[in-house]
Amino acid sequence: MIELSNLSVIFGRGTPLEKQALSGLDLAIETGSFVTVIGSNGAGKSTMLGVLAGDVIPTSGRVAIGGRDVTRIATAQRAKYVARVFQDPLTGSCGALTIQENLALAAARGSRRGFGLAIGSNRREEFRARVAELKLGLENRMDDRMDLLSGGQRQALSLVMATLAGSEVLLLDEHTAALDPGMAEFVMELTQSLVEKHKLTTLMVTHSMRQALDYGTRTVMLHGGKVILDVVGDNRRNLTIEDLIEMFRKARGGETLDDDALLVS
């Protein structure tokens, strides 16, 4: 269960560049649900994810994960509950470390890190098995540095890393946006199966209306730092991309959507 109550975030407070990114956002997410989040640029999607991850401390309001108030808990301390995959494949994994070192780093998330060898023989086997499931042949390259891999391979591994330490919440920040269509499809299928297998409460921010409806169990639209659409169940099943675009337009007071034309893709 994730609860965001009356969240406000103001950046650059008291400066000419002051910007209200979230204004009284309320959102409750049931354990195990897979929520897709859409909205135009500046709607507050990334800020909301940042608040959940701990990168952004809200100006007011409260964030709770599994009943624990984490509003002011730093990113690193929160990481035991929250796993995250970034839009940029270079951000989510460490290029200077090998594949298995990246996995070891993720596997120790939330537990006390000590002087024990990061890659013992048990872990080595476990990691190999997990990477083999991707069917990308990477299990034979476990000692290769991450920066030798393609963006898609890195995102796929980032997803594996996100599921290694038993986090409750998975945050996906347009994690397929930087990939070519084929790889994006592969990563989305992988996301779906990992989320189901590990029963993760998932929030996925996406620019693609199709992804927003094809995946997940609930869709939320943000605008002006607030939730303006929240569909689930039959309502959502019957929704088409065209309906979504129409709602988008209405929400924005009848503005045309030219800058968001790509949303359909």
């Binding site: 690193a76 995250r84 989510g92 994994s93 470390l97 780093l105 120790a108 998330r109 890190r113 990061a118």
Partner: protein, 293 residues
């Protein structure tokens, strides 16, 4: 080059390989350009020298010198992490402050250790000449240090430190307290540098406040020579490279001193070092440039 001069160069290279490993930890692992070492090297020398003269066990004195170095690293880390002072500037502040601290520690600019028993004294007089005993003894310490640092960097904690330097955002997302690792890494780095300083004082018979001048450049030169030679991404080879690089650097200086090869004199050493380090810094960039084109 005479054998004694060669062994002397090896010995000094081994002493400075602790500096090289410390510099490697700060610059390469943590990505923290740390100039504190110019102060923590003489700090290690000063603390060890003063305690040895006061009659402390040289091993204990050296351990305390390392602790003092670690404390210096913590000061730089605090200025950077807690007070958000730019890393380079934070380290310069600590370095400058250490000049005064070192004078306070010693009570004068130069403390002599020529007649004192040091860590090495028990190993002298067993048939092997001092010229061999010194590099052998320090070599053993270097091997131990390389193993321990390598083992540390392969642990969960060490992995987290490497991630802190390489990709702090990712590290935090993986639950790594990056601030903690900057403290830890800077303490470790400067403790090793102070160990080098303390061994320098014990093998050369004096601690002098001026002995820190240029430590950072020597350390960087060693790291870079090692990287150029081994060109490996494996940590163990990088650490071995620091040691080999440091020894080769000293042998190069000894060559410049011992002959008229290339017409070099001791007075050209600073220029040679600067050119060497500049080349090594520029080369990877050129390589990258070519790769991009």
């Amino acid at each position: 080059m005479s054998q004694i001069a060669f062994l002397g160069a090896v010995e000094l290279g081994l002493v400075f390989s602790f500096v090289a490993i410390g510099v490697y930890l700060a610059f390469r692992i943590l990505d923290f350009p740390d100039l504190t070492v110019d102060g923590s090297f003489p700090l290690g020398a000063a603390v060890a020298a003063v305690l040895i003269i006061a009659g402390w066990n040289p091993w204990l004195a050296t351990a305390i010198a390392m602790a003092a170095g670690a404390a210096a690293g913590l000061v730089t880390a605090t200025l950077n992490v807690k007070f958000r002072i730019l890393n380079l500037l934070a380290s310069i502040l600590t370095m400058i402050a250490l000049f005064s601290v070192n004078l306070r520690v010693m009570g004068k600019p130069n403390v002599a250790l020529i007649n004192q028993d040091t860590m090495l004294t028990p190993f002298f007089g067993h048939g092997l000449s001092e010229f061999y005993v010194r590099p052998l003894f320090i070599g053993v310490l270097v091997i131990i240090a390389v193993f321990l640092v390598w083992r540390f960097l392969a642990s969960d904690l060490g992995l987290a430190m490497r991630a802190t330097g390489a990709n702090p955002r990712m590290a935090r997302a993986q639950g790594v307290n990056t601030s903690l690792h900057i403290y830890l890494g800077m303490a470790l780095s400067n403790a090793l540098v102070a160990l080098g300083g303390s061994l320098f004082a014990q093998t050369n018979g004096f601690a002098d406040v001026t002995s820190g001048v240029g430590t950072i450049v020597v350390g960087l030169a060693a790291v870079i020579i090692g990287e150029t030679l081994f060109h490996s991404r494996l940590i163990l080879w990088a650490l071995v490279g620091c040691v080999i690089g440091s020894v080769l650097y000293r042998i190069a200086i000894q060559l410049a001193l011992s002959s008229d090869i290339l017409g070099l004199k001791a007075s050209d050493l600073n220029l040679v070092t600067a050119v060497l380090v500049a080349c090594a810094l520029i080369l990877p960039r050129l390589r990258r440039g070519r790769a991009a084109a």
